[in-house]
């Protein structure tokens, strides 16, 4: 069963670039003068790569957050880092730095991380739950700020901001995919590096402490790594909702294993999930692609509810 899923997933990855509003042919993609060549190498392949690694990053981040915060509702966006990136991007759109949107987005995320941890360090003996509360407060503050930007913006700018918040996997050229690939692989590497600590933290914080884990240090390393990775992803693709919330839950329900054993599995299948959603978004036959965030939520929410009902019945 496990192998069938892996084979199906790889088949999906290999065939996904060929389907879309214009279908591509395998033999044309090596022929440099053809339209297919340009479409494949400049648009489709980069898009699949971004979809896979963004999905992987969001899913893994969700798994780490849910484990550290002990809260099944937490998502990679819970700490407000994504809102920070969105606000930064919106700022760039409204004040005429349209070409610098991803850079502003990333600085929005970095600034949020800086604010978050400087506030947290002022709380004596801070724990993850106070960090969570500060993150939620920041998110609300950012939503209000975003409203002000909407208020100040022209109609076309408003539309652009709105479109950004829906998420988009449009990238041009392989070069644009590099940041997401790098941060997602780094995040995977870091989380695997701290696998044993994560396992201990999953028993109880006190137990981890007694077994010689530097709880606060490990938490901070993991949370900052996730936040930076999310900042990079959101500044490129916009906040794509639900992947980070549901994919880890779905995998936990299927595999019935502790989170520390699901790091790589979540990484892989979250990537596949987003590639699949993107494939649907590109092939619904509408004039333009359906926003990817819409597809992830439309597919994810009912399936998620189904799983919860099934679990409660057990």
């Amino acid at each position: 069963m496990k192998y069938i899923f892996i084979i199906l997933s790889i088949a999906l990855l290999l065939t996904a670039p060929f389907f879309g509003q214009i279908e591509l042919h395998l033999f044309n993609i090596n022929y440099t003068a053809s339209m297919d060549y340009k479409l494949f190498w400049d648009l489709r392949l980069p898009r699949i790569i971004v979809a896979f690694f963004t999905g992987a990053l969001l899913g893994l981040s969700g798994l780490i957050f849910q484990s550290l915060f002990r809260n099944p509702m937490s998502t990679p966006f819970t700490l407000g880092v994504a809102s920070g990136a969105t606000l930064g991007s919106a700022f760039a759109i409204v004040f005429g730095f349209v070409t610098l949107v991803p850079i502003f987005g990333f600085f929005g995320a970095l600034l949020t991380i800086a604010i978050l941890f400087s506030i947290a360090s002022k709380i004596k003996g801070y724990d993850t739950s106070s960090l969570l509360l500060v993150g939620i407060a920041l998110s609300f503050f950012y939503s209000a700020s975003l409203m002000i930007l909407f208020y100040l913006s022209s109609q076309s700018q408003s539309y652009e901001i709105l479109r950004f918040t829906m998420g988009s996997l449009d990238v041009v050229g392989i070069r644009d995919t590099v940041p997401v690939i790098v941060v997602s692989i780094l995040l995977l590497f870091i989380s695997l590096q701290y696998k044993k600590e994560i396992k201990l933290l999953l028993t109880s914080y006190d137990n981890a402490f007694l077994k010689g884990v530097e709880v606060r240090k490990i938490n901070t390393i993991l949370l900052v790594s996730v936040s930076i990775a999310i900042g990079v992803a959101v500044s490129i693709t916009g906040p794509i909702g639900f992947v980070g919330l549901i994919v880890p839950h779905i995998l936990k329900a299927i595999y019935k294993k502790s989170a520390d054993k699901l790091l790589l599995i979540t990484f892989f299948y979250s990537g596949i999930f987003l590639v699949g959603c993107d494939l649907i978004a590109r092939n619904l036959g509408t004039a333009s692609d359906v926003p990817i965030g819409v597809v992830t939520s439309f597919l994810g929410a009912p399936f998620f509810i189904y799983l919860i009902i099934k679990r409660e019945k057990r």
Binding site: R70, K199, T203, N207, F209, L210, K211, G212, E214
Partner: protein, 230 residues
């Protein structure tokens, strides 16, 4: 070995005592007297700069070194992870013991439970799991918080045998069971409303006048056993 210098917080006031190398201790006191709080201070879960362990200041110790010196076994196994099995839990606990996980599992007759998720174990089985984890952790000083609460007589005996054996190095035991206290014969620290009321040898504690002073008429001494006077 363990020294607490004039420690006070919201629950404890002016805790000041010194436990010498090789001395085991029983921590007694009524519910809410602050026994668990004191234990958490001693092992560092509650921060303080008034604790010395084996001649070193607790708050300055590196986390790994601290884990080598002290461990605390709470009254209940609190675990967030739904899927971690007993055996995996014990594997995580093995730090400074020469015993292997499988040896300790069979020592405590937990073989049939090894692959079960910790969360599905009964409270007695969880109690034994924690005892096994303390053996595998192998800290120089281990604090057991009510290790025999909620156990059937057979398991109580099993735990008692382990507690007094040398698979555990130095120990502090929090309990309400006066018979256990009497049989173990360790030095006693009795707490009342966050203060140290009595800190002396076992024999002195069980002198009739002292028992009368601490427990009034609620304890009866019959044939070498201490029972609640109902």
């Amino acid at each position: 070995m363990l020294k607490i210098n004039h420690f006070s917080n919201a629950i404890l006031s002016e805790i000041n005592f010194h436990l010498k190398e090789g001395e085991n201790l029983i921590l007694l006191g009524s519910n809410g007297a602050g026994k668990s709080t004191l234990a958490k201070v001693a092992c560092g879960i509650l921060y303080s700069n008034k604790v010395e362990l084996f001649g070193e200041k607790l708050e300055l110790l590196h986390a790994k070194k601290r884990a080598e010196l002290i461990n605390y076994i709470p009254p209940k196994l609190e675990i967030f992870d739904d899927y971690i099995s007993l055996k995996e839990y014990l594997e995580l606990s093995r730090l400074h013991s020469s015993l292997h996980v499988d040896e300790v599992i069979s020592l405590l007759n937990l073989d049939t439970l090894a692959d079960k998720p910790c969360k599905t174990l009964s409270s007695g089985e969880q109690q034994l799991t924690m005892l096994a984890s303390s053996i595998l952790h192998g800290a120089k000083l281990t604090i057991f918080d009510e290790p025999t609460a909620n156990l059937d007589p057979k398991k109580t005996l099993q735990v008692y045998e382990m507690l007094k054996s040398d698979v555990i190095k130095n120990r502090i035991i929090i309990t309400h069971d006066l018979n256990l206290v009497h049989k173990l014969g360790y030095k006693i620290l009795y707490m009342q409303e966050g203060e140290v009321e009595f800190f002396d040898e076992n024999k002195k504690f069980f002198e009739a006048s002292n028992l009368e002073k601490l427990f009034g008429s609620s304890i009866k001494h019959i044939d070498g056993y201490f029972v609640v006077n109902i």
